[in-house]
C-alpha cells in the first residue's frame, strides 16, 4: 500500500519535473539565462505570465474552493509541486501578494460577490494586488492609521497617504485600511475596503530606498471615491481584517521555510558562495579563506543557514504531532523563523562587508565592483529584513505573548483601555 503510494508520488514528481523543463523560460537556471534585476515592468510581466502558466497546469491556486477558482489536489502532491519549484527556482510568482495576502483576507472577510469577482483572477495571476496599510505615522503601531473615509451616498470619499507599499507600481487593486469613525476607540474605528488603482484621485509615487531603488512606493488619496459595495467586513472592523492579512503575511515566510527539505540538502551548501568569495579575496596578499578568523565566521554562517533550513521540517513534524492545524500554529511560530532569518542574514552581510574591505564601497555600476555590486547590494538590502513583514521587535512580542504566554506590557493594556 505504502509502496504503491510512494511510487505514484514519484511518478507525479517526474511529471512535474518534465513540465517545469518544458515550460520554464529557455535556458532557465543556466548561466546563459539573464535573470531580470530590479522592479521593472518586464520582470512583473514575466511573473504574471508564469503564474498563468502554472494555474493552467494546475500547479497553483491551492486551498481555495472551486467556485472561487481554487484548484484541488492531495496535500502530498502540493508538497511535491512546491519542492520541485523551490528546487528549480521559478520566475517571481506564483507567490504574488494577491495570492498570499489578498486571497486569504478576501476568503475570511469578503462578501460573496467580492470573492467570486476577485479570487479567480488572483489565482490565475491576471490581476495584481497591494496593501494600503502602513502610513508615515502608523508602522508597527498600525492602529494609528490617519487616512480617513467619509460616506457620501453609495460611496466613500478617501483622503490620506499610505507608504511602504510593495507592488505599488503594478497593483490593479488594493486592500485599504482607513479610519471611518473619529470618535470610536482604537481598534474599533477602522474599516477595510477594496480599491481600484485606476480610480480618480489616486496617485502613486516611488519611495526611494537606501538601496537606491524603489521596491516600495507611496500611495496618495485625494478625495478618491470607493463604492460602498467594496467594503470588506463590517464598518468599524477594519482592524480585524488587517490582522488576517498580517497573519497571512507572517505565515507566508513560514510556509516557504516549512516546505523546505532541511536535511536532504548537502550540509553547509548555503555558504558555498561565501567560501568562493573568501578564496578569491586577498588581504595583505593572503587569501581570506586561509585566515582562521574568516573560517570561523563562515563556519558559523554555515551552521546558521542549516539551522534555518532545518527549522521548517522540524516544525512540520511538531505541528503534525500536536494535531494543530499547520496554518493556525504557523501564524505565530513563523515569527521565530522570520526573526532568525533576518538576524542571520544581517550577520552574513556584515561578514561580506568585512571580506570586501575597500571594495565594499563599490556599487553596481562601478567597473571595479565585485560581482557587479551584488554583495554590496546585500549589505544595504539586508537591513530591511528586520523591518519588513513585522519588525524584529514586534515579532519578539508575538513570540513572547502568543507562544510563551507572557502578559502584554502594561502600557499596551492601558492603550487598549483608552
Amino acid at each position: 500500500m505504502a509502496d504503491e503510494k510512494t511510487a505514484k508520488l514519484e511518478a507525479f514528481r517526474k511529471e512535474v519535473r518534465a513540465w517545469l523543463r518544458a515550460n520554464l523560460p529557455k535556458g532557465w537556471g543556466t548561466p546563459e539565462y539573464k535573470v531580470l534585476e530590479g522592479f521593472t515592468q518586464e520582470r512583473h510581466d514575466l511573473g504574471k505570465w508564469w503564474t498563468k502558466k502554472c494555474y493552467e497546469a494546475g500547479y497553483t491556486g491551492f486551498g481555495y474552493p472551486k467556485e472561487y477558482g481554487g484548484i484541488e489536489r492531495p496535500r502530498e502532491e502540493i508538497m511535491v509541486i512546491r519542492e520541485e519549484m523551490a528546487r528549480t527556482g521559478t520566475p517571481g510568482a506564483p507567490s504574488s501578494l494577491g495570492l498570499l495576502l489578498a486571497a486569504p483576507t478576501l476568503m475570511a472577510h469578503g462578501q460573496e460577490w467580492q470573492k467570486k469577482r476577485f479570487i479567480p483572477k488572483i489565482m490565475s495571476g491576471e490581476e495584481s494586488w497591494c496593501e494600503g496599510f502602513s502610513e508615515p505615522n502608523a508602522g508597527s503601531d498600525l492602529a494609528n492609521v490617519q487616512t480617513y473615509a467619509v460616506r457620501d451616498g453609495d460611496e466613500w470619499v478617501v483622503k490620506g497617504q499610505k507608504c511602504w507599499t510593495s507592488m505599488w507600481k503594478f497593483a490593479d487593486f488594493g486592500i485599504l485600511i482607513v479610519k471611518t469613525d473619529l470618535k470610536a476607540p482604537r481598534h474599533r474605528n477602522l474599516t477595510a475596503f477594496i480599491f481600484d488603482t485606476t480610480s480618480k484621485g489616486f496617485e502613486r509615487r516611488p519611495l526611494r530606498q537606501m538601496t537606491d531603488e524603489s521596491e516600495f512606493g507611496e500611495l496618495f488619496f485625494d478625495d478618491m471615491r470607493i463604492p460602498h459595495a467594496n467594503m470588506m467586513g463590517e464598518q468599524g472592523r477594519g482592524w480585524y481584517v488587517a490582522m488576517t492579512t498580517l497573519t497571512a503575511e507572517r505565515s507566508m515566510g513560514g510556509e516557504q521555510v516549512v516546505s523546505q527539505q532541511g536535511g536532504e540538502i548537502r550540509l553547509g551548501s548555503g555558504v558555498d558562495n561565501l567560501i568562493e568569495l573568501a578564496r578569491a579575496r586577498k588581504r595583505f596578499g593572503k587569501a581570506l579563506w586561509d585566515d582562521p578568523v574568516y573560517r570561523q565566521k563562515i563556519a558559523q554562517a554555515a551552521i546558521e543557514e542549516d539551522a534555518y533550513r532545518s527549522w521548517g521540517p522540524a516544525f512540520r513534524a511538531k505541528a503534525r504531532k500536536g494535531g494543530a492545524s499547520l496554518g493556525a500554529t504557523l501564524s505565530f511560530e513563523a515569527s521565530v523563523s522570520k526573526n532568525y532569518w533576518a538576524e542571520s542574514r544581517q550577520r552574513r552581510a556584515m561578514l561580506i562587508e568585512d571580506m570586501l574591505g575597500s571594495y565594499s564601497q563599490l556599487m553596481s555600476g562601478s567597473k571595479h565592483a565585485v560581482a557587479e555590486g551584488s554583495w554590496v547590494y546585500e549589505i544595504l538590502r539586508s537591513r530591511g529584513a528586520s523591518i519588513e513583514m513585522g519588525t524584529t521587535e514586534i515579532n519578539r512580542n508575538i513570540i513572547a505573548e502568543r507562544i510563551l504566554g507572557l502578559p502584554r506590557e502594561d502600557s499596551a493594556k492601558k492603550a487598549q483601555e483608552k
Binding site: 522540524a314 521565530v336 507572557l406
Partner: protein
C-alpha cells in the same frame, strides 16, 4: 529524515520524564553533589531494570536492541533532570566502543554487566594539556609478554571514582604520527598502581578526576580494537558522545527556558509581572528562537550518526558548536532574568549554567568545531 518522534519514542520520553522526576529530583541531585562517588547504586539498578544502560546493546548481551535516536530521547531527559548517575560515561564513553570494537569475549564479559547495572566505566583520555588531540596523549603502554604495563597521568576523567573499569588511551609504539600509535585498554580500577584523585570542578554533578596509572598490569586481551588503531575509535567516541551531549543540552535548555518563563510570569515589579516588560520578554523570545533552531541541528546530528552517514561528523560538529553556544546563551539569560535569586547557590539555575560550561568544553569547544567545519566544507568543494 524524520524530525518527529515515533509513538514508542514518545512513550520512552514520558516514562523517562516521570521516572527521573520521581527518582532523581533536585534534592537528590544536590545530595549527590557532595557524595563520594556521586551516584546512588539503588537508582543505577532501577535504571538498569528499565533497560537504560543496555538500551542500544543487542539482546544477546542483555540489551534492548534500540537505536541511537532512542538513546538521544533518554539523553534529552537526563540533561533536563541533570541526572546524578554515571550514565554518559558508562554508555557513551565506555559501553559503545566495547560494543563497536571489542572482541567477542570482551563483549560477552563487559556488556551484560553494564546492561545489568553491575558495572560503571569511563574513558581516561585527556592529559595535562587538556586538549582533544592525539598529540596530547603521552601515557605509555609497554609490552611484557602477554601483558602491557601502562604508565601515565590522565586528567578530566568523568566519574572516575564511581568507575569499576577505565578505557585508557596509551601510546604503544614510538612513531612521529601520534594518530597511529595509540591503543585503547580496558583497565580494572582495582588494579595495583591506579590512583584516583578528585578535581575540584565547576560542575559538581558530573564529577571529574585525575587518574594516575603507574606500571599498571593489563592483559593483551583487554585491548579494544586494533593495536595502534585507538585514535580512530576515539574520534568515533567523540562524534557519538557529542551527538548525545547535544540532546542533553537541548533537554537542559528546555528546563532553563520553561523555568525562566514561569518566573517572569510570576515575579512582580513596579506593579506588573516582569515578563510583561519588553526588556525581559524580548530576551525570552530570543531564547526560544535560538533553542528552536538548535533543536533540529541536534536531531539531524543524531539521525546521521544512527544512519552512519559519511557526513555525520560534519553534522555533529555543526550541532555541537551551535547547541553549546545556545545552551550558554540560555543559561546566561536564565541567571540574568532571575535577578538576585538566579545568582544564589539555592536556586537550581547555576547547576545548568555549570553543566552548559562542561558540555561546551568537553570533546571540542565551539571554536574547535567551527574549525573542523571549515575544513570539511573545504573538502566538499574541492
Amino acid at each position: 529524515m524524520e524530525f518527529g518522534l515515533s509513538e514508542e519514542q514518545d512513550m520512552l520520553k514520558t516514562m523517562a520524564r516521570d521516572f527521573l522526576t520521581k527518582e532523581c529530583p533536585k534534592a537528590h541531585v544536590r545530595k549527590m553533589m557532595d557524595d563520594e562517588i556521586g551516584y546512588a547504586p539503588a537508582l543505577w539498578k532501577k535504571m538498569a531494570d528499565l533497560g537504560w544502560q543496555g538500551l542500544v546493546f543487542p539482546e544477546e548481551f542483555g540489551g534492548s536492541a534500540m537505536n541511537f535516536r532512542d538513546l538521544a530521547v533518554l539523553s534529552e531527559e537526563m540533561g533536563r533532570a541533570l541526572i546524578a548517575a554515571p550514565f554518559f560515561s558508562t554508555v557513551m564513553l565506555f559501553g559503545l566502543p566495547i560494543l563497536q570494537h571489542g572482541s567477542d569475549h570482551l563483549k560477552r564479559e563487559f556488556l551484560p554487566k553494564i546492561a545489568n547495572g553491575e558495572m560503571v566505566g569511563t574513558l581516561a583520555l585527556l592529559e595535562a594539556d587538556g586538549d582533544f588531540w592525539a598529540d596530547g596523549i603521552r601515557a605509555k603502554a609497554l609490552k611484557r609478554g602477554n601483558h602491557y604495563l601502562i604508565s601515565g597521568a590522565k586528567m578530566f576523567v568523568t566519574d572516575a571514582k564511581a568507575a569499576d573499569y577505565f578505557l585508557v588511551a596509551a601510546r604503544t609504539q614510538a612513531t612521529d604520527d601520534p594518530e597511529n600509535n595509540i591503543t585503547l585498554f580496558l583497565v580494572d580500577a582495582k588494579e595495583w598502581g591506579v590512583y584516583v584523585g578528585k578535581l575540584k570542578t565547576m560542575d559538581m554533578i558530573r564529577k571529574q578526576y585525575e587518574v594516575t596509572f603507574s606500571n599498571v598490569n593489563v592483559p593483551a586481551s583487554h585491548i579494544v580494537g586494533e593495536l595502534n588503531g585507538g585514535w580512530q575509535i576515539i574520534k568515533q567516541i567523540a562524534v557519538q558522545a557529542n551527538a548525545q551531549l547535544c540532546a542533553e543540552m537541548i533537554g537542559g535548555g528546555d528546563w532553563v527556558l520553561e523555568t525562566t518563563v514561569a518566573y517572569c510570569k510570576d515575579r512582580v515589579a513596579y506593579g506588573a509581572p516582569i515578563g510583561s516588560y519588553q526588556g525581559l520578554k524580548h530576551r525570552l523570545a530570543d531564547m526560544y528562537m535560538e533553542l528552536e533552531h538548535a533543536r533540529p541541528l541536534m536531531i539531524r546530528a543524531v539521525e546521521y550518526v544512527r544512519e552512519a552517514r559519511t557526513d555525520a561528523e560534519l553534522a555533529v560538529s555543526m550541532a555541537k558548536s551551535y547547541c553549546a553556544d545556545v545552551y550558554e546563551m540560555l543559561t546566561n539569560n536564565g541567571v540574568q532574568l532571575h535577578g538576585g535569586i538566579g545568582f544564589t547557590w539555592d536556586h537550581d539555575m547555576h547547576l545548568y549554567f555549570k553543566r552548559a560550561r562542561w558540555s561546551a568544553n568537553s570533546f571540542g569547544n565551539p571554536t574547535y568545531h567551527r574549525d573542523l567545519i571549515a575544513s570539511q566544507l573545504e573538502k566538499q568543494l574541492l
